[in-house]
């Protein structure tokens, strides 16, 4: 016993003396060990440096075909490229590994001309075979790599209903044969699941490709410590021009306050998902800047048009007049939100900004209710999401604010909530009267919002259209847009569709969240993407 005690005392002494020594030297925080960092090329002052990105959670896996969550894509994006990519900060697409593409006259096949001279990180050549490999593994059941799935996003996007075959015409030409005409198809190929992986690495690692990613991207994968950090180094042979950072480290810091303190102290350079309460302090802290962008999402209250009284357009419009979105945004979203008026987020192309939002006007609401035969109001349920989502951080609180606002026009609201899985199930089958939900777009195409959430087809149970709103004019417009390859014409169609939506008011659009990224002043050219990507290709550190 005495021995044990002595040992413990000695251990503690060692620990505290060591701790004291270290804290006295204080060197570590001030000067990161430079000797371990590769020397920067001298031709451009932008070159060099290690960037540490503090994020809230770890990747599940690094094979973008298999994963579904944003954190996983953060981890695979630096390593991989896609045939086409999003223009930085926008939802438009531009050529990437494919230099150009053209649709056949019937719109049922699209041919890509591939970039030549690109190499995978394992030294093998990028070519048409690699493209065919990357896609076939996700849907050809006899493909040797198919068993490494599940290929979840492929399923989410219904790609098997769109793609019939992927064919290599020659070494640098690939043709996708389609089952249907699908304008958003090109945008789908800019998504992470469509990344081009090295077939050699795929064969070598099999399922473990998820922990040994090999692509053509700006950074090469170095190491991954679970729940801690992923390390990358610059790919000097990147096809897309100079990459400036020597190394990129994605560091997991789960607690938002701890992330902020870590940025303040300079241990990390950029952080993700700051807590809204800290934003003001961040903006006023010397050496820190905050960039912001409206997220590609929408939070809404769907009014079940199959049930009274929401089968009446005037009641739906009255709801829109009676709910004060700015109060909700101020009370729940804070600086991290903006009121919504359309089903599309403002960063989306074809967003119709000419539409005037329903103003907060309880008198107008009462008038409409009287016209609809509900002069004394009515009783209704509002379903509130039990979990926080990017498009709605607190469903219950939003419901309570609505409850108070609607009471002023005589509408008595009961707030209801279920466990998340049950909640979604019940919504899909239309058990609700009015329910909150939202959507985050992932391919930067308006179709990804309007068709999934509001088309007549999506109102079939289990429904994505939980307003069960079946409007032929609207569905025809977005259906036509889906088959139209000309972007200007598509834009016009979508703008028209939003006018119909506004008039018919199947939802009360609530808000779009605003995404913020606080970082050190020295971090240059970091751009937020509406689709939520984190891209470090052109980021550099001012010395």
């Amino acid at each position: 016993m005495k021995k044990l005690f002595k040992i413990s005392i000695v251990l503690l002494l060692v620990l505290s003396v060591a701790g004291l020594m270290i804290s006295c030297s204080k060197k570590e925080a001030a000067a990161p060990a430079k000797e371990t960092v590769a020397a920067a090329p001298v031709e451009d002052s932008k070159f060099g440096g290690v960037l540490v990105f503090g994020r809230s959670g770890d990747s599940v896996g690094l094979d973008p075909g298999r994963e579904t969550d944003g954190e996983s894509f953060y981890g695979s994006t630096p390593v991989y490229d896609t045939l086409v990519e999003f223009v930085p900060g926008e939802t438009a697409v531009r050529p990437a590994l494919a230099e150009s593409w053209s649709f056949a006259a019937d719109g049922l096949s699209v041919t890509f001309k591939l970039r030549k001279g690109v190499k995978f990180h394992d030294g093998t050549d990028f070519n048409a075979a690699a493209v065919v490999y990357s896609f076939e593994r996700q849907f050809k059941e006899d493909h040797p790599a198919y068993k490494n799935g599940p290929w979840k996003y492929w399923g989410y996007m219904g790609m098997s209903d769109i793609i019939d075959e992927v064919v290599a015409d020659d070494d640098f030409t690939v043709t996708f044969k389609l089952k249907v005409k699908e304008a958003p198809f090109i945008a789908n190929l800019a998504m992470d699941f469509a990344a081009i992986v090295s077939p050699t690495a795929g064969e070598k690692y099999g399922e473990d490709l998820a922990s040994n990613p090999v692509g053509t991207g700006p950074f090469k994968f170095v190491s991954w410590i679970k729940d801690d950090s992923i390390v990358y180094e610059r790919n000097d042979d990147f096809w897309g021009g100079d990459v400036y950072l020597d190394r990129l480290i994605l560091k997991v810091i789960p607690d938002a306050t701890a992330r902020w303190l870590s940025l303040k102290k300079g241990e990390v350079d950029v952080i993700d998902f700051p807590s809204p309460e800290d934003l003001e302090e961040m903006k006023s802290t010397e050496g820190i800047k905050v960039i912001q962008q409206a997220g590609l999402n929408v939070g809404y209250l769907a009014l079940n048009t199959e049930k009274a009284p929401y089968d009446n357009k005037k009641v739906r419009q009255a709801m829109n007049y009676a709910i004060d979105r700015s109060e909700i945004v101020a009370g729940v979203y804070g600086a991290a939100g903006q009121p919504a008026k359309n089903p599309l987020p403002p960063t989306m192309w074809s967003y119709n900004d000419d539409i005037k939002a329903y103003p907060y006007d309880p008198e107008m609401a009462k008038k409409l209710l009287a016209e609809a035969g509900y002069a004394d109001g009515f009783k209704t349920e509002i379903w509130a999401m039990p979990v926080a989502r990017p498009y709605n951080p607190n469903g219950k609180k939003v419901a309570e604010i609505m409850q108070a606002q609607l009471a002023k026009v005589g509408i008595e609201v009961e707030v209801i909530s279920y466990e998340w899985g049950t909640y979604l199930d019940k919504l899909d089958y239309g058990e609700h009267q009015a329910a909150m939900l939202g959507w985050t777009g992932d391919n930067g195409d308006p179709d990804n919002f309007l068709w999934v959430l509001l088309s007549s087809q999506a109102a079939e149970k289990p429904a994505g259209n939980i307003a069960f709103w079946k409007n032929d004019e609207f569905t025809d417009l977005i259906g036509e847009a889906k088959q139209e390859m000309d972007v200007a014409k598509r834009t016009a169609l979508y703008e028209k569709a939003q006018v119909v939506f506004h008039e018919e008011a199947p939802w009360v659009p609530i808000a779009h969240s605003v995404v913020s990224a606080p970082m050190k002043d020295s971090v240059q050219d970091f751009v937020l993407y509406p689709t939520g990507r984190r891209v470090f290709t052109k980021v550099w550190i001012k010395k």
Binding site: K152, D227, S262, E419
Partner: protein, 337 residues
């Protein structure tokens, strides 16, 4: 002695069986559909059905339980639903971090706690006693996350004495082998790179203190009351009257007996640290098992939750065994009973 340990080991089996069974039914009967969680918010019913079949969730509960027991016997926890990785591999990647932190926290809590307890008891009803007991009360009632954040704010950000989190300076080029960083970085000491070990140690200080504060307070209070009890006993008086120095009386004769209940408390606290490091790990970005299990529960990742809880419960039970054995070493009477 060996017979005693063997007997205790055999007695562990029903306990572990109970744990395993409880874990299975608790998870199986909890609400929520893992297939739905995996496939996302808008999966089609056919796909949900197929996945349920693949996971065996469509089989009768008893049959699921049988299959589960069979796998557990082979220490096979299956694959994590979320990552598709072997659950054992996932645990191995994270558990060492938690053990390392819990051990350091426990050393800090035990040494300081016993010392404070002894001082308090010997200086009973003086200001030293009052101060340390008020301090202990404060320690017990302090929310860990709050303490942790305050410590980061003061010692990391303001005074710049410690890092805010993590296990080692990320800008050092370091690949762990055993995942016990103090061990992994030890060899660098002899390669002229002391900064690795120093960094690992440096990163341990704040989270150890945060995690160790509550056990420290509990140990201090237990030691004090146990010590007071012992100091009253006749044999201590006898020893004292023999003219032996007070220090020796306290540390040599009284403490040995006073430590018996303390050891039990230490064992219990250690087990709890392993399981409950969630908040500390989250705030200090410590890549241990706490947050992993938390996420597994949130994602209804059945195999991961089962594996995680079973590993932790087993550690808990084994620590208790170790405590009992230690106990019987100090007090042989226990063995005879």
């Amino acid at each position: 002695m060996i017979r005693y340990i063997l007997k205790r080991l055999v007695m562990l089996l029903p306990t572990l069986f109970g744990v395993v069974t409880l874990v299975f039914f608790m998870i199986a009967l909890s609400p929520g559909d893992p297939a739905r969680v995996m496939l996302g918010e808008r999966a089609s019913p056919e796909k949900l059905e197929k996945l349920r079949a693949d996971l065996g969730l469509d089989k009768p509960l008893i049959q699921q339980y049988g299959l589960y027991l069979k796998r557990i016997v082979h220490l096979d926890f299956g694959e994590s639903i979320k990552s598709g990785q072997d659950v054992m591999v996932e645990i191995k990647a994270r558990y060492p971090a938690t053990i390392e932190l819990a051990l350091c926290a426990m050393i800090f809590a035990t040494v300081l706690g016993v010392w404070i307890g002894v001082i308090s008891a010997t200086k009973k009803n003086t200001w030293i006693d009052y101060t340390s007991m008020v301090g202990a009360l404060f320690g017990v009632s302090m929310p860990v996350f709050w303490l942790a954040l305050v410590m980061i704010m003061i010692f990391s950000v303001q005074l710049n004495m410690f890092p805010t989190g993590g296990r080692i300076n990320m800008r050092l080029y370091f690949t762990p082998e055993t995942n016990f960083y103090l061990i992994d970085t030890f060899k660098y000491l002899f390669q002229g790179k002391p900064e690795y070990f120093r960094s690992a140690l440096h990163h341990l200080v704040l989270p150890s203190i945060a995690l160790g504060t509550i056990p420290l307070a509990i140990i201090a209070r237990t030691t004090r009351s146990s010590m007071l009890e012992v100091l009253k006993q006749d044999y201590v008086k006898t020893v004292r009257s023999a003219g032996i120095k007070e220090r020796r009386v306290v540390f040599r004769y009284a403490l040995r007996n006073a430590l018996l209940p303390v050891i039990t408390v230490i064992g219990l606290q250690f087990g709890m640290l392993l399981a409950g490091a969630l908040l500390t790990e989250t705030i200090f970005a410590w890549p241990g098992i706490g947050k992993w299990i938390y996420h597994a529960i949130a994602a209804r990742d059945y195999p991961a939750v089962q594996g995680g809880i079973i590993i932790i419960s087993t550690s808990f039970v084994l620590i208790n065994l170790a405590v009992d054995v230690l106990y019987s070493v100090i007090n042989p009477k226990i063995r005879l009973q």
